[in-house]
Symmetry: C2
C-alpha cells in the first residue's frame, strides 16, 4: 500500500502566473512550427517509473497536486487535472481555482479525450512530451483526437521545463555493485539468458527503459529516486553488443569499472559500451538505421513514445512485460535467502517498536510521526539497512481509514489506548526489501473493530494458505481475500497484493493479486508478492494485515494432469495481534494457521532477538505469540 | 456444458475431390479479379451463432470435422484445421489425410496467421467470406497478413457453397408470437427503451445481427436452428424507423401480422418495415448513404465483417455487447416467474427419470441413449414443452470424463450399479429454458468418487451461497468453485457458468462465471447463470453438479458504502444425490445448505408431483431429500 508522494502540503499552489507563461510557450514558435492549443502533462518520468525524482515532478509543479497519479491538461482557456478517488480531497486542497478537478471514476467526469474534443476549436494541435507518455497511451489518445479532426503532437522540448526556472538537477547518486552473494547470478549470465530468450523469439535487439530492470540486469543499485534503489539509465542489448546509457561521471570508480569489466571485458560480446544518458535517442537511431530486413527489436509497450517511435514499425515487437521483468520476478535461491534475512531483521525492528509502543503509549507522548520515526530508527540499527522502501503510513483512528495516509504535522494524532493503530512500513536492506502492515489496539478494541479485523484476517489467511495449480494467475486469488468481508456486506477498494523486488522497488510487475488486472503473468515458485486485505471505516478506523509471501510448491493429495500445485510461505514474521481477533469467528483451520504462524515467528525471530540481545522485544514476542484456542 | 454438434460419425470424410474443386474455385476469375492463394473457412454463420443450421456447416462440409469450434484453411498445397483440446481425438478421426490437424493450445502449434505467413508465397491473397468472419477477427487476421506483405480479401461468393452441390436450404420455420404473459414487456416498449439508450449515447442507428437478440426484441420465436428457438433475421433500428429483414413468406399469418402491427401500426415510429432477409446489405448501404455528419451507428464488434464495413468508419461505434444483449440478460418479473415454472416442470421430469432409472438399471436394459430418450419423453409430457435446449449428455463411467460427450450407437454404454452416471440435459418450454446436470451412482460409489463429488459439491455451494457486492463481475467468483478441488490438487478445465436465456439460447452473454473472461458485464439482480463445477478422471468417471441460478439481492449484516449485495437463488430444484457425498468433508454451513436446498425441492417440486399425480417420483423425491447430519 505504498505511495510515494503522500500529502506534504495542503494549501493550494498559486498557479496564475505559471499558467500564463506555459500558455505563452504553447504559442511560441521556438518549440514548433505552429502553436499548440492544448498541452498534456502526465505524471511519469522518461522511464515510466511509479516513484519519480523531484526534477520529474512536472505535473505537481504546474498544478500543485502532488499525489502519485494524475494528468494535467492546459488549453488557452482551461486547466484541468484528472485523478482518482484516493486523491479527490487532496487535489482539491492543493490546486487553486485556475484548475478544474476531474474526478475519475465518476459517471459525469469526461475522459481526457472527450473533454479535449468538447472544448477544442476545430483542427487543434494537442502537444505532449513524447518521453513521458507511454507508447500505448499515445496510441489511444492520438486515435481519439484524430477521429475528431485534431492531432497529437510530440513536443521535444518539455514546456514545463521551459517555465520551471528552479527545476532541480537530475540526480546522479553513487552506484553500488552487488556481488554474487546477493544476486546469485552475474550480470554476464543474465545477459546470456536474455540473449537465449531473444534467439528463441528471433529478436535481434532489446531496449530496456525501466530503471529497476536495468539495475537488476547489471547487479547495480543507485539512489536516484527516493525509496527506490535505482539509477537513471537505459540499455540496448544486441546479440554481440551491450550499450549502457548513464551519466558517465558515475563510472569512474575502480570497483565499478571492475564490476562492469569496462577496461578488460572477458569476451567481446560481454563488453559494455558506455554512452551518456542523453545519447540513447541518437544511438537507438543508429542501431535502427543498420537493421537488416528481418531484424526485430523488443521494447515494452509501456516504454516512452519517444524511444518506441525510433524503431521502425516493421521492426518493432512491443511486449507487455519484458523478459527482464519476468526473470527479475522469479527470485533465485540467493535472493530468496536474502529476502528471508531482510524480513527477519525487519521483524526484529518491529518487535522492538511494538514493545516500545506498549510501554510508551500510556504516557501519551507517542504520535503518528514519532512512532514512524522510531520504526525507522530501529530498522536503521539492523545490518545492511539502506533506507525505507516507501514513506511509512503510521495512522491512528480515523486517519487509518485514509488508505494512502502519511502523517503530517497538521494531521498528526497521538497514539492512545482508545484507538486502532495501523502501521504500514518497510525498508531496503542490501539483501532484500520489506513491506509489512500491522493493525494493533493498545487498549480494548470494540466488538466491531474486532469483527472487522477478524474478517480481514480470514481473507489474509485464505490467500496465504490457498493451494492452487501451477499456471494460476494472481488475480484469480483476489476474491479469496474478500469472501469473509463480502459475506457481511463489507469490502475494501484496493487490490490484495503486488510483486515485491529484492533490494529493488517495493512494487514490481508482472504478478500481483488484484481484481483490476487480467493480463498479469501466472504465479511461479520463487515469485514474491504481498498479501494485504483491509477494511476501512470512514471517519473511524482502518485495518490492514500485510505479509510479504513467497510462492512455493505445494504437495496436495493428488496431482491432476501432473500440473503441480503452489502455495505461499510468509516471509514477514511479525505477530498478528491476538487481542484484535474475535477467535470465535475463526474456523479450526484458521486458528491452526495463526498458531503455526506465531510458532514460526517465535522460532525464527525469537532466535535473532536472542542473538541481538534484545530482551524486551523478545518478551513481547513470546507474549504475543501464545497459541489461541 | 451444452455443445451442438457432438460426435455423430467417427469415420473420416473423403475430401480429395472436394479440395480439388475448391482449389479450382480459388483460381477461378469468376469470383475475383485475381486468384487467391488461401481460403479460410470459419465455423460460424452470418450471425455469429454458437449453434448453426445445416446450410451453414461449411467447415464440416469441407473437412468432415463436425465439432462446435474449428477453422479450416486451404491453400494450393495444404489443408489445415485448427481446433481446441476438447476435439483433438474427434477431429483426427473425422478428417482424412488431406488434412493437417492443428492442435490449438499446444506450444508447437502455430497460429493461423503464423502458419499462413510461413507457407504462403510472397504477396499472397488470402480469401474469406466476410459474412461469416466477425469484424474483430477480420481486423486481427488482416493486420498480421499485411505486416507480412500479404492481404486478406473479402470473397463475396462463398467458395464452399460453390462446390457444395447438395447444400441444404436455409430454414424458414413457422414463427411463434409471445404475449405479455410470457415476455412481461411488449416489443414496442423494448424498442422505446432501446431508443432511450441510443439517445443517451447520441447514437442514431442500431444494427442487430445476433439471432437471439432479434427474437427477444420482437417477442417472436422460431425453430431455424436446432435447440435454439430463433429465426434468421436482421434488424436496423433508427429513431423513427424499424426495419426487419426476414424471409417475407413467414409474415403472412394474420396473428403474426397483428403482433407486429404490420397492417395498422399504432404510431409511425413503431411501424415495422419488412424487407427480404438478403436485402440487409443494400438497405444498410442506403441508410449509411443518408447519414448526417454527426450520426453514429451502433453495431456489435462481433458482427460480421461484411455488415460492419458497410458503415463508414467515422460513423461506426462498435460495442462489445449491444444494449439488447444487456437488456435481455436481466430478466423481468414475468420472465423470472416463467423460468421458475419451467424449472419446476423440468424437475418433475427428472425426478420421474431418476425413479425410473433406479427401478430399471438393475435389469441391465438401460443405456446412455435410452436414458436420454426417456428424459426427453418425460420432459415432453410437461406443459408447453417445445424441445430440448441442447443434445443430452448421458454418460456412464469413462464416457463421463469426456466433457462434451454425446452418446452414439458405437459408444453407447449400459447403465449399471457399478459406474457413475452423469446426465446434463435441458429443455425449451414456452415459459423458460432449463439446463441441469446431476451425477448419480445406483450402486455403491467408491471412496474416491465420493471424495471428488464432495469437492465439486463444495465448489457448487461456494458459488451458489456466495454473497458479493453489487457490481461484481462473474469471473471473480470462478475460483470459489475450485478452491476445494485445488486444495486436494484437483481441478476442471472448463468455466463454471454461463448466462441462460428465457425460452432462448441456453448459452447467452454478457455474463457468466469463468476464469477465461475479464470483459464480462457485472452481475445484476435478475440475471440468470449456471453454476456447474466438475471433476473428470480420464478413463474412469466424470462428475458435474449444475444448477441454473438467479441473481437476487442479499441482505448481509452491513452495507459498505451503500453498494448493496447480491447472491444466488437456485432455479433448478432437483435433488443432489446424498449417496455420492462424503458428508464428513462438508462443513456445518455446507450441510445446512444441502438440507435447505432439499427442503425447497420437496416443498416446491413435491407439490407439483402431487398435483400431477406422479406418485413414484414423489416417493423418490421424499427419499432423496432426507436431511443429512
Amino acid at each position: 500500500m505504498a505511495s510515494q508522494n503522500s500529502v506534504t502540503d495542503m494549501s493550494p499552489k498559486i498557479t496564475g502566473e505559471l499558467l500564463r507563461q506555459l500558455r505563452q510557450a504553447m504559442r511560441n514558435c521556438k518549440y514548433f512550427a505552429e502553436p499548440i492549443q492544448a498541452y498534456i502533462v502526465p505524471s511519469g518520468d522518461a522511464h515510466q517509473s511509479e516513484y519519480i525524482a523531484p526534477c520529474d515532478c512536472r505535473r505537481e509543479f504546474i498544478c500543485g497536486f502532488n499525489g502519485s497519479a494524475g494528468t494535467a491538461i492546459v488549453t488557452e482557456q482551461h486547466a484541468a487535472m484528472w485523478t482518482d478517488g484516493r486523491y479527490f480531497l487532496q487535489a482539491s486542497q492543493q490546486m487553486d481555482n485556475n484548475w478544474t478537478l476531474m474526478k475519475m471514476g465518476l459517471k459525469e467526469t469526461p475522459s481526457q479525450e472527450d473533454w479535449l474534443i468538447s472544448i477544442l476549436p476545430e483542427n487543434s494541435r494537442v502537444g505532449v512530451d513524447p518521453w513521458i507518455i507511454a507508447a500505448d497511451q499515445w496510441k489511444n489518445m492520438s486515435k481519439a483526437l484524430i477521429s475528431a479532426g485534431h492531432s497529437l503532437v510530440a513536443v521535444q522540448d518539455n514546456l514545463i521545463d521551459a517555465v520551471w526556472t528552479d527545476r532541480p538537477e537530475r540526480p546522479s547518486t553513487q552506484l553500488r555493485t552487488l556481488g554474487l552473494e546477493y544476486t546469485g547470478i552475474s550480470w554476464q549470465d543474465k545477459i546470456t539468458a536474455l540473449r537465449t530468450k531473444m534467439t528463441e523469439r528471433k529478436i535481434t535487439w532489446f531496449v530496456a527503459t525501466a530503471l529497476d530492470e536495468i539495475a537488476w540486469l547489471f547487479n547495480l543499485r543507485g539512489a536516484d529516486i527516493e525509496y527506490n534503489p535505482v539509477f537513471f539509465a537505459y540499455t540496448i542489448i544486441g546479440m554481440n553488443t551491450i550499450r549502457l546509457f548513464v551519466d558517465l561521471k558515475r563510472l569512474s570508480e575502480p570497483a565499478l569499472r571492475d564490476h562492469l569489466q569496462l577496461d578488460s571485458p572477458s569476451k567481446p560480446e560481454l563488453s559494455v559500451q558506455t554512452f551518456p544518458y542523453e545519447s540513447v535517442y541518437t544511438e537507438l537511431q543508429a542501431v535502427c538505421a543498420a537493421l537488416g530486413p528481418k531484424d526485430k527489436v523488443w521494447i515494452c509497450d509501456k516504454a516512452s513514445c519517444a524511444l518506441t517511435r525510433v524503431i521502425p514499425k516493421g521492426h518493432r515487437t512491443p511486449i507487455p512485460y519484458t523478459p527482464l521483468c519476468l526473470a527479475k520476478a522469479v527470485k533465485n535461491a540467493t535472493e530468496i535467502q536474502g529476502m528471508k534475512m531482510a524480513h527477519i531483521k525487519d521483524a526484529v525492528a518491529l518487535c522492538e517498536l511494538f514493545a516500545w509502543l506498549e510501554k510508551e503509549i500510556p504516557k501519551g507522548t507517542v504520535t503518528e510521526i514519532s512512532a514512524a520515526d522510531k520504526a525507522e530508527e530501529l530498522r536503521s540499527q539492523q545490518k545492511e539497512f539502506v533506507g525505507l522502501s516507501f514513506p511509512t503510513i503510521s495512522s491512528v483512528g480515523p486517519n487509518g481509514a485514509i488508505i494512502h495516509y502519511r502523517p503530517l504535522p497538521e494531521t498528526n494524532r497521538t497514539l492512545t489506548m482508545n484507538e486502532v493503530y495501523l502501521i504500514d512500513s518497510g525498508a531496503q536492506y542490501v539483501d532484500g526489501t520489506t513491506d509489512v502492515t500491522r493493525t494493533m489496539h493498545f487498549g480494548t478494541p470494540s466488538a466491531f473493530e474486532k469483527e472487522c479485523f477478524t474478517y480481514v484476517l480470514k481473507g489474509h489467511i485464505a490467500v496465504s494458505a490457498a493451494i492452487f495449480p501451477n499456471g494460476t494467475k494472481g488475480h484469480l486469488l483476489d476474491s479469496f481475500a474478500r469472501a469473509a468481508l463480502w459475506e457481511s456486506g463489507l469490502d475494501y477498494l484496493h487490490g490484495t497484493g503486488h510483486g515485491v523486488g529484492c533490494f529493488l522497488n517495493v512494487h514490481e510487475g508482472p504478478c500481483g493479486i488484484s481484481y483490476k488486472t487480467f493480463a498479469d503473468e501466472p504465479l511461479e515458485a520463487g515469485m514474491i508478492v504481498s498479501d494485504e486485505p483491509g477494511y476501512y471505516e470512514d471517519g473511524s478506523f482502518g485495518i490492514r494485515i500485510e505479509n510479504v509471501v513467497l510462492v512455493v510448491p505445494a504437495k496436495p493429495k493428488y496431482n491432476y494432469r501432473n500440473r503441480g500445485s503452489l502455495t505461499f510461505e510468509p516471509l514477514t514474521l511479525v505477530p498478528i495481534q491476538v487481542k484484535m481477533m474475535n477467535t470465535e469467528l475463526l474456523t479450526q483451520k484458521e486458528r491452526d494457521w495463526v498458531n503455526e504462524y506465531h510458532r514460526k515467528c517465535r522460532e525464527v525471530v525469537g532466535a535473532e532477538l536472542e542473538r541481538q540481545g534484545r530482551k524486551e522485544a523478545l518478551e513481547w514476542l513470546m507474549r504475543e505469540t501464545q497459541p489461541i484456542v
